[in-house]
């Protein structure tokens, strides 16, 4: 932790934008939820609209001042950490829900709108958006768009970016760009693709390296009429991964809004805490928890079909885990703190990786290897089901006073092991910068785009290895 010592020149904040440069104020803008080291911003500017952002970017480009864009600061990849100094652009002031168009099935929001606020607005209308991340109470829509997000809905809709209809983006030279159908004057947001290639995709997951998102249009979906959870136990991760592959291949996740898989260590820890008298030898080696959503009749059919499929793969219903853990997890909607709150009361470093479903056993081997090689850290991990493939999270809980160096080294080792196991980086930020740089043609293309769109290199230096 540093003291926020001021470095470099200050920008003139546009009229109406809040500007902060007191060291005490800068402390809160040095880092996100990752274990990565904080940066030192010179200044924080909190604009209220796209025009103010454009003014800041034009001036920053001219003065070559780094700009780091911050939403809720809840990501785990260090994307908002101002490691090159400069200015943090706090988008918390762009917090308006611009339009809810039920006929088009689209909601348009500013990037500082929190998921919790949007859900609070949409729920009474019987609507929801496809992907709501685990950090919903404080995470912002803009942050999820810029840095990738997954969560509730991934089993049905895949990734947050897949649910984006279009964007409004300010480029480094102050140009205001609208993507998809909204690129045409007055057309508004209703199709992701208009003329030519998908420019939304350039910015989604780009960690604010190519532009600053100022509006996001998302697909709306009806809220499911009913929800229920169920858990399925398997002897080992191999059987569970075959089961999940079959679910995905058969498109049987239609009524599943959330699904995650839990390793043996998690099962034993949870059951041991709740039922200490129970013999752990009889517990499954792996568990899949599914959160079904839809019409009650559909749910009953989906559940029966899923149980039958689990049994075909040697699994069975595991109601105990549902009762003591998964149902509560879903009911409380404490996805994120399913890790922090239920396992360890501390900060954690997380590595998130995408993986083909068949690689799940390998992913879990990596987790087991981390646990064995760094026993001083408390390790946790889980996989989240997507419509296709999986997202895996490896978590290392640590005491920052004594274990900061160790957790950073451990995560670095883990990243290499995950790559070797066929898993690829997800939520890049700075956490995975070294790994992204290894993807030579991809990274070279990114660099060329960056040079064209942000020639002064002001936008989020360090993110994605750019």
């Amino acid at each position: 932790m540093n003291d926020g010592t001021v470095l470099g020149p200050l920008l003139r904040a546009p009229d109406g934008a809040l500007s902060l440069d007191a060291p005490l104020d800068l402390l809160g803008y040095q880092r996100d939820c990752s274990a990565l080291r904080p940066g030192r911003a010179t200044q924080v500017v909190r604009p209220r609209d796209g025009a103010q952002i454009a003014a800041v970017l034009r001036e920053a480009s001219a003065a070559r001042v780094p700009i780091y864009v911050r939403g809720g600061g809840t990501m785990y990849a260090g994307g908002v950490n101002p490691v090159a100094g400069g200015v943090v652009l706090d988008l918390g002031g762009l917090d308006r829900i611009v339009d809810i168009d039920a006929d088009r099935g689209v909601v348009v929001v500013e990037p500082g709108v929190r998921f919790g606020t949007l859900a609070q607005t949409l729920t009474p209308l019987g609507l929801t958006i496809g992907i709501i991340p685990s950090t919903a109470p404080t995470a912002t829509i803009g942050g999820a768009a810029a840095a990738h997000a997954l969560g509730t809905g991934s089993a049905r809709f895949q990734s947050f970016a897949d649910e984006v209809v279009g964007l409004e983006v300010v480029l480094a030279d102050g140009t205001l760009l609208r993507t998809g159908s909204a690129a045409a004057q007055d057309a508004g947001f209703f199709h992701r693709y208009g003329i030519g290639p998908d420019l939304s995709g350039l910015v989604l997951g780009g960690d604010a390296t190519l532009g600053v998102i100022t509006k996001i249009a998302l697909w709306l979906h009806p809220l499911p009429a009913a929800r229920r959870t169920a858990c399925y136990g398997f002897a080992d991760p191999g059987a569970a991964s075959a089961f999940v592959t079959e679910l995905q291949r058969g498109e049987l996740l239609e009524h599943v809004w959330y699904g995650s898989g839990y390793e043996a260590a998690t099962i034993r820890a949870r059951v041991g805490a709740a039922r200490p008298a129970l013999d752990p030898a009889g517990l499954p080696g792996f568990c899949i928890g599914l959160d079904f959503g839809g019409e009650p009749d559909d749910l009953a059919r989906a559940e029966a079909r899923t149980l039958a499929l689990a049994r075909q793969h040697g699994g069975d219903a595991f109601p105990l885990f549902d009762e003591i853990y998964f149902e509560r997890l879903r009911g409380d909607q404490i996805y994120w703190y399913s890790f922090a709150g239920y396992f360890a009361r501390s900060r954690c470093g997380i590595l998130m990786a995408s993986l083909p479903t068949a690689r799940m056993p390998d992913f879990l081997d990596v987790l087991a290897g981390c646990r064995a090689s760094r026993p001083a850290l408390t390790w946790g991990g889980a996989v989240v089901l997507c419509r296709r493939g999986l997202h895996g999270g490896v978590m290392a809980f640590y005491d920052e006073a004594t274990q900061w160096d160790e957790v950073l080294a451990a995560l670095q080792d883990c990243a290499g092991a995950l790559r070797a196991a066929g898993c690829i980086p997800y939520k890049c930020g700075k956490q995975w910068a070294a790994e992204v740089s290894r993807m030579a043609p991809y990274h070279a293309t990114l660099r060329r785009l960056k040079a064209a769109l942000d020639p002064a290199g002001i936008l989020s230096p360090g993110n994605l290895g750019l």
Partner: protein, 393 residues
């Protein structure tokens, strides 16, 4: 802002060491800053962030980060820090929502105490302390006027069943509520004693302002000459100091706690006017951190009276502070009134807003003077004006 001061490495770390675990385990989730989560009844968290300054350093997370930096030996601008931590209402919402049980509100309280001890209290806080030393109340009003609220009341001069201590807020800023509390207690058959001119502030405002030494002296003075074994305090913020002082000598109850007990025992009958739309004001006293926590049984009492508030209880534990608490109203009065205005409800929504704590009640009424609002009444005022109270038949 004052010039930066390098704190002595041998004292600041020691004073802030109690929270070392918090500094190094905080996950930066920002729940304590501003979280919204409808399923939990959570609709924003920090009133200071919402209504005073939308900057992290004015929130629980900001206090934690500042304390960590100071603990680690960073040079801290103590004037700037004071500006931020004394704008905290001390409502404790930040601690209530922390998913991993950290203590940002208590860290804020410790920072205030450290800053006061180092001579960095903001001017309004210094004025509050001076007012307490000179006049015995936080409003710098004449000590003699402390008795004015009770002019029309008769008190027991012997064989009292309880001692009533209205508290400064009720005595000066909500005298109607103080009078009504006494009348309700007397209707239940209590022989109520009162110390008159010898009544004293409990030191609660001093403790909230980090003036802990002065607060301890005020608390010690409370029990000198105490002869009853039951004390009922009017203000919720009075209860913690009284409890610390009277431990082993007297049981201390808030008026609400007393009334809940009396109703449960069937010692009072309350007949309610039918059709009245009552908005129950959910305060923050019950979720304040540590020893500052005080039960506020307003909704239980209304339910016992057969009243169903128009605002349901979902989210009542997460109601955002009205700005009356802490030093917010002293250092940033306009922001404190914005906080209160956000808690008012329009006349179309309710016939009356009923409030369990006289301090909140007075503060809300201040805000209601410039905002359309249903009338604001303290619990006892409401009972004495909108219901019929009597002995059980």
């Amino acid at each position: 802002m004052s010039s930066a001061t390098a704190p002595g490495a041998d004292d600041i770390p020691a004073q802030l060491a109690e929270f070392a675990r918090d500094y190094y385990h905080c996950a930066d989730c920002s729940y304590c800053v501003d979280a919204t989560w409808a399923e939990r009844g959570l609709d924003h968290v920090c009133p200071t962030i919402m209504h005073h300054r939308p900057v992290v350093s004015w929130s629980g997370r900001g206090y934690l980060l500042a304390a960590r930096a100071w603990f680690e030996g960073a040079a801290i601008d103590e004037g700037a820090l004071a500006e931020r931590v004394f704008a905290c209402t001390g409502c404790g919402h930040c601690e209530a929502v922390c998913p991993i049980g950290l203590r940002p509100a208590q860290i804020g309280a410790s920072l205030r105490a450290v800053l006061v001890a180092r001579g960095h209290a903001p001017e309004p806080v210094a004025a509050l302390r001076a007012a307490m030393r000179t006049h015995g109340n936080p409003y710098a009003l004449s000590a003699a006027s402390r008795v004015d609220w009770a002019a029309a009341l008769a008190f027991a001069d012997d064989e009292a069943t309880l001692l009533y201590a209205p508290g400064c807020a009720a005595a000066w800023r909500a005298p109607g509520e103080a009078v009504a509390q006494v009348r309700v207690m007397q209707a239940a058959g209590e022989r109520v004693a009162w110390r008159g001119a010898a009544d004293r502030c409990c030191g609660g405002p001093l403790r909230e302002a980090g003036c802990n030494d002065d607060a301890a002296q005020a608390e010690a003075a409370l029990v000198r000459g105490l002869t009853t074994t039951r004390v009922v305090v009017g203000g919720l913020e009075c209860a913690p100091g009284w409890r610390r002082a009277a431990t082993g000598r007297a049981g201390v109850h808030t008026f609400g706690e007393w009334l809940r007990e009396i109703l449960a025992a069937g010692r009072l009958r309350i007949d309610v006017t039918a059709g009245l739309r009552v908005h129950a004001f959910d305060g923050c006293a019950a979720r304040r951190p540590d020893e500052a926590r005080v039960d506020d049984p307003l909704r239980e009492i209304l339910a016992r009276c057969g009243i169903t508030p128009v605002n349901d209880a979902h989210g009542s534990a997460h109601a955002v502070c009205c700005g009356a608490a802490g030093t917010m109203s002293a250092v940033a009065g306009e922001s404190a009134l914005r906080m209160a205005a956000a808690r008012l409800v329009a006349p179309a929504q309710a016939d009356v807003i009923v409030v369990g704590d006289p301090r909140c009640r007075a503060h809300l009424e201040d805000a209601a003077r410039s905002a359309p609002s249903a009338p604001v009444l303290g619990l006892a005022e409401f009972l004495t004006t909108h219901t019929r109270i009597g002995a059980p038949t």
